[in-house]
Symmetry: C2
Subunit: 304 residues, 2 copies
């Protein structure tokens, strides 16, 4: 397929590498910023080298264009990764719709907006789909999909399965989709724990990596409570421990990101990173992710 | 050390196997139920075989006693894993304090109670410590510790480090400690997503395993937002995206575990397990956990 990437930031580069190397697609890209276009090939190369280390073969080179019309030439699939501003995305969609054929699908990587909020910017909404990845998209398998059009949704499931992703279809749209709603709920309590003086930033993160986060990489939260119910499973759990969960929920925090709290978070993160810069931390994160992805190939996850 | 396990359920068996095989401790155990005592050796053997597969050597056999006094003989460390009832735990602690020397540390695996709530049941509170594991404790490395006594806390850090755990000390006590507060916050939203019809139970769990859960096994939530801020890190994130997080927080759900919601959760879990029983699911979970633990030995986690 001919795939067009709109927006040459980190997400765009990660998608481009994945679509070319794993999907064997012909990938064209565009960004209004010359600086972003110039930095793009190196970002794509970095992601692609990780995919090659995971067993993919180098795909066709990703072509970057100065003019959006050139990038959209012959597109079967457009993946939009522009900044999170509705007017800006609407302008882009207008460009796209004037340049592509009717059967080209337009996917948005948006994390902030719902399908309905962005669809107002399109004429032919039936080919529009939300396709939200988790950073970095070429490594983290999840893609959250939403479209009210079953044909478009099917095409999106097929497209993302074809590039080795795990597509999850939402039955109904929601701000933050699914994963970021879960992540926001967890972070709210993580901020409360720091703000309330229960534990340091670093210790909250250590708890996740060595406790519930480790377990959630292996079984989900609902299935976790099923196992927590012993032989009686989730029904036993809900009957006997449901009321204590509701009491726990009522004690959870409701912090505000005041200057004081923001300073605690910043200072805590600085203590945690121990001088490592963003690139070094990303390198460590990616190495570990790649190792887990490797072992998942030999040991299927519990949902397979 | 001489270690006494009080409570021969799953947590007790998991601790017993770990303390014997990894800690090379002499482990004695007791439970008021004859059925629990009889089933105990097999549970310990199962956990110990997993530890041996991870490279530990078989420890001395764990001895199970009919009378609590015999199990407490010579104890340097007592690990209490009784049902979550304060009166019952207070009775146990009275037994323990009458049987052990003053330098024996008494640790509770409680998930529901704080140090202060249980300490009222003890005479010598200075040697009492909360030591809360995540299931299964012989595989999941996290142990959450709380004691207002620095000497006892130090001893607990040393004890749990010595059995290959990752101890995290709370600065202040809190119901649910740290990990279960995070887990409850996340589950509340996970229940809302199902109750509101946004996604199925199975799809919420799939989102975690292939998205944020996978990432939280590699980097924590605070550090995740640091990387989400790009070159400007957490400070950039808080300044530019803090307000949108606060707006997101205000849209999170506040579900009740009504009969209708409980039925949705039960039916959703049944669909997810596809006929697998609890033992089979635990087997799959443990196999995957063991693989990740193996790779962490060669690839240190980001907090190390």
């Amino acid at each position: 397929m001919n795939v067009t990437i709109l927006g040459c930031g980190l997400i765009g580069a990660s998608w481009a590498a994945l679509f070319a190397a794993v999907g064997r697609h012909r990938v064209r890209a565009w960004d209004p910023s010359a600086t972003a276009r110039e930095a793009f090939p190196e970002k794509v190369a970095r992601a692609q080298s990780q995919l090659i280390a995971l067993g993919a073969e180098a795909g066709e080179p990703v072509a970057v264009f100065d003019r959006i019309e050139e990038a959209l030439w012959g597109a079967d699939w457009v993946q939009e990764n522009a900044p999170e501003k509705t007017e800006l995305k609407a302008q882009l969609f207008a460009h796209v719709e004037s340049a592509v054929t009717r059967d080209c699908i337009i996917a948005s990587s948006t994390s902030s907006f719902t399908w309905s909020q962005l669809a107002t910017g399109l004429k032919h909404t039936e080919r529009f789909v939300i396709a939200h990845p988790f950073n970095p998209p070429h490594l983290v398998p999840l893609v959250e999909l939403y479209s009210p059009n079953a044909t478009t949704l099917d095409a999106a499931v097929k497209f993302f399965s074809g590039v080795g992703r795990v597509p999850v279809c939402m039955k109904k749209e929601a701000t933050g989709h699914i994963g970021n709603r879960l992540a926001s709920a967890l972070w709210r309590e993580a901020v409360h724990i720091v703000a309330d003086g229960i534990a340091t930033v670093e210790d909250v993160d250590r708890v996740l990596i060595h406790g519930p986060g480790l377990r959630w990489s292996v079984i989900g939260t609902h299935l976790g409570y099923h196992l927590g119910g012993g032989d009686g499973g989730i029904e036993h759990y809900l009957r006997h421990l449901g009321p204590s969960q509701e009491r726990r929920w009522s004690t959870l925090g409701n912090p505000k990101l005041t200057n004081e709290v923001c300073e605690m978070l910043s200072a805590g993160v600085q203590a945690e990173v121990r001088g490592r810069d963003i690139a070094q931390l990303e390198e460590q994160r990616d190495r570990q992710l790649m190792e887990i992805l490797r072992l998942r190939r030999e040991h299927p996850t519990i949902d397979e």
